[in-house]
Symmetry: C2
Subunit: 110 residues, 2 copies
């Protein structure tokens, strides 16, 4: 495999783990798929729709998000997602572990 492809695959693996945390952290207020995508992008995290939408459904099926169809401003009906009470509990634990883990890795890399 070429170096670049290798690095891309390893980064994908890395991103996959962090994406759930990022998504949970950005849904304290409700968003629909595309508005969330833009919010993540504005904060520097580029995600494909083909990655984000299945993740939203997975997080909802795990009880970490809840969703509702809404019509806002004459737009077509959209599914809005927001973090659930269980999601908040899980996010708090993930944050703690994430901080500990990044600190550990940071020490190894420096």
């Amino acid at each position: 495999m070429e170096n670049d492809e290798l690095v891309q695959n390893m980064l994908l693996e890395l991103r996959r783990g962090t994406l759930s945390i990022a998504v949970l952290s950005q849904l304290s207020m409700e968003e629909y798929g595309y508005s969330l995508l833009k919010a993540l992008s504005e904060k520097g995290l580029e995600v494909d729709q083909s990655t984000l939408y299945p993740l939203l459904r997975r997080l909802e099926s795990q009880g970490l998000l809840q969703s509702d169809w809404r019509v806002v401003d004459d737009a077509r009906p959209r599914r809005y997602y927001v973090i659930s009470a269980q999601g908040k509990t899980v996010l708090a634990k993930l944050k703690k572990e994430w901080s500990a883990m990044t600190e550990t890795i940071q020490k190894m890399l420096s």
Copy 2:
């Protein structure tokens, strides 16, 4: 799924992505499996043999590590791993991306 199990699964996913970086970063000097395991543990990263050994073989098959059987101090022959030239190039790229990514997530979480 119970919260704890959910969190554990999400953390596993998170760790899977970071473990390759951690391992590459710790193999500038050669180590055998168990000595690497201890080195990682001392730095705060607990890894199972059943996770680490397949990862070492995978990284070697990708050309990022090289290995040799050696006999040191009358011990039984052990396979020693060290980062390859290609591995160093890849690690440098991963470090850069890792820093950018953790900074992005950190901002979202704070």
